[in-house]
Symmetry: none
Subunit: 139 residues, 2 copies
């Protein structure tokens, strides 16, 4: 900047000495500072940043309970006990094993199972397991 001012002074002095036409002098000044402005603009202007978001699909191993389908689960309208029994079934447990795990009698498990099948619109525990896994309401 200081250098530029010196140059300006020199140009001014030179033109006065040589007694050139003032229009020419002004033209040079205008041209010079126009170029200076353009240069400044190029230097100072921050580049426009355009952010492009690229969606990248990454396969995920589908962890056990990551994607429990709450929506489908609610549609079935299972009671909490019925859902517990269904979860045990999906683990491959027999009625006796489920009864032992939940501290219930086999009769109770059978009752829950029957009600469960009606609500799920299936006719056997294997169909219930298949459907529950297909709808992702059990791991």
């Amino acid at each position: 900047m200081a250098l530029l001012l010196l140059l300006l002074k020199w140009l001014q002095w030179k033109f006065l000495i040589t007694d050139q036409a003032e229009e020419v002098y002004t033209g040079f000044i205008a041209l010079f500072f126009t170029v200076l402005g353009i240069w400044l603009a190029f230097r100072l202007r921050s580049p426009e940043v355009r952010t492009v978001i690229v969606e990248k699909e990454i396969p995920v191993p589908l962890t056990a309970d990551a994607g429990i389908n709450e929506t489908e689960l609610q549609k079935l309208n299972l009671s909490s006990r019925e859902y517990e029994v269904l979860q045990c079934m999906s683990r491959g447990l027999s009625n006796a094993e489920i009864a032992a795990e939940l501290f219930l009698s086999v009769s109770t498990i059978k009752t829950h199972a029957s009600n469960l099948f009606v609500k799920m619109d299936v006719k056997s525990r294997t169909q219930a397991i298949e459907k529950s896994k297909r709808l992702r309401i059990t791991p």
Copy 2:
């Protein structure tokens, strides 16, 4: 541009008339054309675009049969018929339904099922289903 030149002429005339100091006049000219240069640069220059690509990860659940575990399947050493029966079981079919689908008698299905359970080291079809899905040898 023509308008600007007229303005310049007017400024020049005014300053001459009022007999201002030439440095002030030159300063105004310089400032004006610097601004003009900056404005021109901003108007005419094609915007420099720096594209930033941001990868957005979208979890995609692995499809069921994408990763049929051939290794685990071979370990079990199932015969082709036994594997067919296992696949039908995993679909929730009963022995009678499997027999109908494979054009076999229920006795044959039971035989295959029993041999299957021994090879898979399970004690019921529900356990077989659970294990086959856990090892990803059925969809």
